[in-house]
């Protein structure tokens, strides 16, 4: 029971990071038909922005996190304006955009490597402090990650469910064309999608940076797990992505009760493959016509 609770806490923390990454990836995937392999590197970049503000400039971590969120939202908008919109206007196919995003991922990851080198970076936070809750221990970092993620994820959920912009986003992810003919300003919604997806990616990168370590490949190593979360929840379903992310984190950590922790990552990929084979529309997804 103890180990179960302990792994549950660990899983909630890592699952929160997957969830934050997965919402943006899922929305962009569904609305823009972009399978963005650079999403993980957006996260990494967020972590490094926070590192610069927090460590190099000495500002508080909260300020650094806000700067990272803003910076990656802007990066998302820039890539939309410079790359994705012109490519869509030229009628680029899904696979063409996918391969392009792999090139972009290479560029971002290696520019980070160029700028900061390959060694691990640490944000200015006490990573040794833990709270003993009797049967389980929870670290300060886990408290921070889980609580920030909980607040942000609830806020995003409310936004998607209740605001005009949120509803428009969900409409676009159902059918871009239908949304457009019913008078939704699709271009504006696309802008908000990048702000939301990029901002969440930046935040996820900061949390990944304090939860694990910050290296040029931090985000890329999380990316497959995030894809798993997106597919688990059904592509284009932001609530599904949220649940998928948390579920993935939990399954990975629970698996360490029976299997060596070094297989943890592989467990995530096995889950991904099983979901695709048996529920290709996601566990929460509904059957849709494809093609």
């Amino acid at each position: 029971m103890e180990t179960f609770l302990q792994t549950t806490i660990n899983g909630l923390a890592s699952g929160s990071i997957y969830a934050l990454g997965a919402i943006g990836l899922s929305l962009v995937y569904a609305i823009l038909k972009l399978v963005n392999f650079a999403h993980g590197d957006f996260m990494t970049l967020g972590g490094y922005v926070a590192f610069v503000v927090n460590v190099s400039l000495g500002a508080p971590l909260v300020v650094a996190a806000a700067a990272a969120v803003a910076a990656i939202a802007v990066v998302g908008l820039i890539t939309e304006a410079v790359i994705w919109r012109p490519m869509r206007n030229r009628g680029a196919g899904v696979m063409q955009l996918l391969l392009l995003s792999i090139g972009l991922a290479f560029v971002i990851r290696n520019l980070i490597l160029f700028g900061w080198g390959g060694q691990e970076k640490r944000l200015d936070i006490d990573n040794t402090r833990t709270f003993d809750l009797g049967i389980v221990r929870i670290s300060l970092i886990q408290v921070i990650v889980i609580s920030i993620a909980a607040v942000v994820l609830v806020a995003v959920g409310v936004m998607l469910r209740s605001t005009y912009v949120g509803k428009s986003m969900r409409a676009l992810s159902d059918s871009f064309d239908l949304a457009e003919v019913s008078g939704i300003d699709t271009r504006r919604v696309v802008t908000y999608t990048w702000v939301l997806g990029g901002g969440l990616a930046g935040l996820a990168g900061v949390l990944a940076g304090i939860f694990t370590t910050l290296r040029p490949d931090t985000g890329f190593l999380l990316l497959l797990g995030i894809f798993a979360a997106v597919i688990l929840g059904g592509i284009g379903n932001p609530f599904g992505a949220l649940v998928g992310g948390i579920a993935l984190g939990l399954v990975q950590e629970w698996s360490t009760n029976w299997i060596t922790p070094t297989y943890k990552e592989a467990i995530g990929f096995v889950v991904l493959i099983l979901v695709l084979l048996f529920r290709p529309n996601g566990v929460l997804g509904h059957a849709t016509r494809t093609g």
Binding site: M95, V107, V270, L277, P280
Partner: protein, 312 residues
Amino acid sequence: MDPLLAFGFWAYVLTVAGVYAIFVLGLQVQVGDTGLLNFGHVAFMAIGAYSLGLMVTNGIPTIVAIPIAVVLAAIAGVLLGLPTLRLRGDYFAIVTIAAGEILRILVQNRQDETGGTLGLRRASGAWRDWNDSMLDWLDGLGLRDLDRRVPLLVITWVTAVLVALLLMHIGRSPWRRTLRAVRENEDAAAAVGKPVFRLKLQALALGAAIAGLAGVYFTFLQTSLYPENFEPIVTFIGFAILILGGIGSYFGTVLGSIVIAFIISGVRFLDFPIAEDKVAALRFVVIGLIIMGMMAFRPQGLFGKKEELHLD
């Protein structure tokens, strides 16, 4: 030492290019001919390499181990394809990359058998002896004091050319024409009675076998095998070569392999006024920019045909 004159170094770079050329010829069958975006291609190379290494370190003669390694890679292609080939293109891409990572994590963890991160030593078996006899033989022909790397360089490229010729030969067969029909319009191919699923499976297996062969030469070149040799980035470099040379063009694949191998390892002779790891990072920035530029402005690649392209 002036690296420009260091023949051995260039022989190494060109052998790496040759291994990549074979590897990407396998991708051509899957991506170019059949339209299967296989992002786990490196796994088939890993299966070829580790099968060879594990067999020769357990006493199986190298000459026997090589064909078995290639066949095992092909079987892995079938096993991967059976459940996944009915998935959509983007799902297939993600699943194949995940399958490759599962394999790599497995190799990394089964340290007792594979050496794990410590590496599998002497994985190339009898290759060193073969290399020595070939050098002796060449010595007898009057080619004295050749660099030790020459035999592998020659054999790798001869193999690459033979594979390309084989694929060109297959290219004139009804089999490949049917594959292209599948790529262009799966429903139409199925409607006229073509066994779409079986054809895709065959293409995946053939490409996997070729990647397995690339793994064999990779093992000869490196002697020791490490799991990090088989990270997803190898597949992505393969895609960079494929995209640069042109999807469907074997000549483009050969040229693309040489260009990309030179960017990755060859630019060391240029004296940059910055640290080595920064230069390494810039090389991959260049590769990323090549992928982006080609996809944006010439998705069919330098030598590909636009009508052959199928990226929807």
